[in-house]
Amino acid sequence: MTTTQDPAELEISPEDIADRRRAQEPTDRVIFRVAGLYGVSKESAPFPVSRTEYIDSGPVSITLDPENHSSNIGVIDYDRRYLRITYGIHAVFPGIHELVMSGKHDLSLLGPVRAVATDECQVTPDMTGWRALGCLDFLPGSIWAGASGG
């Protein structure tokens, strides 16, 4: 047995088809994961340890956070040379060790600092990297938990 369908019942109208034709083609994008990273700061930065005390961090070194399995992903849009990437980091610096040696702070809060970084920017014209103003959100477990910004 066959049935016929009233054209009026069809969900796609000529106007819908025209709209689809006018829609832009999907952009040339690739989603990727961060398999590894390192980073260093050339200059020291003042890190507060209380409302009134600061330490000099010394050069900060970062690597991929081995405990963070949900970040470390990004997308690049080749048409716009646009990049957005989120990555979990472990940060260590001489100032942490000085705090440990001072004996004045809870040692459980003086391990590697965990944070999630987000960069959103244009990639360089030669497509070999990027320069960004990023967001950095410090995770629980260190003195600086709750610090954030961008």
Binding site: F32, R33, V34, A45, P48, T52, Y78, L136, G149
Partner: protein, 48 residues
């Protein structure tokens, strides 16, 4: 980064400056932290 489009891992260089806002229990305020380094990126879901 063109290699990602072809399904290959790539090594890239980055420079990022973070403005960090300290929580109030640490006195508030902010500091700039500039980091530079390198990453290894691998395609996750292919080209869209």
């Amino acid at each position: 980064m063109l290699g990602l489009r072809e399904g290959r891992p790539v090594n890239v260089a980055y420079e990022t400056t973070f403005l960090i806002n300290w929580p109030q229990h640490l006195g508030g305020g902010s500091v700039n932290l500039a980091l530079e380094g390198a990453m290894v990126l691998i395609p996750a879901l292919g080209t869209h």
